[in-house]
Amino acid sequence: MSKYSVILPTYQERRNLPIIVWLLARVFAEQHLAWEIIIVDDASPDGTLEVAKELQGLYGEDKIILKPRAGKLGLGTAYIHGLKFCTGDFVIIMDADFSHHPKFLVEFIAKQKAQNLDIVTGTRYIPGGGVYGWDLKRKVISRGANLLAKLVLWPGVSDVTGSFRLYKKPVLESLIASTQSRGYVFQMEIIVRAKAAGYTVGEVPITFVDRVYGESKLGGDEIVSYAKGIWMLFRAV
């Protein structure tokens, strides 16, 4: 039977973490799947690690694996770090703040099995997908950013910055080894490199509920670094 590993990088997710773990555990139990969640906490000052330990007590140390780090070291390296401890055949990456709902894993897994895909990615942009809580400005920026990526990179997927994905473990390991960027350009780089390398990628429409608790982090700097990221990928991939 296939085992599914979820890598959850956390920073200040003390309120969200128990609930996201509960939602994941419920999906896996309902689908009768072998699973584990690897929590990579970057020394959150709000007690995220403490609540993670409580969850470990509840679900078992074989299901909740804690691999904390000494400081806020960023998303890309969190995945690299977490990946070392995955014992599953498949690796799922997602956000811990409810923007990605575990219920979609059922479709991700089914689609992967049906077509033996290397990667399944969630997309907000195809029919069936959508967002909640975005104003007009945010939508324009999002579509604009995606359009820019499409024009320059011809990525072959409808949602390049999406970070809700299921990978075959060896595929993710090989892709992560060749990535150079960090932040959410990292997510783009992985999928662009994946298509360039000939991996099979499928898409599942997802609903993206933005920022139930917490604040959005999109500013001018982010937009500049996004454009720089696209340029880098244009030249390198």
């Binding site: 967002v131 609903t207 509920v209 030249r235």
Partner: protein, 98 residues
């Protein structure tokens, strides 16, 4: 099968080809069965037309994309309920939730 050429390389190759083709057309180096009049009027406008077409396409994609952006209020409501369910279940099992 790995792709060796980068997108930049592909872009440069294709655009060099198109630019050469256009220059040959512009400078009448390629004999074509069209009248000189048409050549004088249409050929110089082609790059401009291309730009306009590209710009229009982008605006269309952007506009349509924003207009047809899926909304998911039910997903939000469902999530709120599930959060409450999760909280009470976890509390009963001794996990410190808010």
């Amino acid at each position: 099968m790995a792709r060796r050429t980068t997108r930049q390389t592909q872009f440069l190759v294709v655009s060099t080809f198109l630019i050469s083709l256009y220059s040959a057309l512009y400078l009448s180096l390629i004999p074509l069965p069209i009248s000189q009049d048409i050549k004088d009027q249409i050929v110089p406008c082609l790059p401009f037309n291309l730009l306009i077409t590209l710009g229009s396409y982008c605006l269309w994609e952007l506009g349509m994309g924003v207009l047809t952006f899926g909304e998911c209020d039910e997903a939000h409501d469902e999530l709120m309920k599930e959060i409450e369910m999760a909280k009470s279940d976890l509390r009963s099992k001794g996990i410190s939730v808010d």
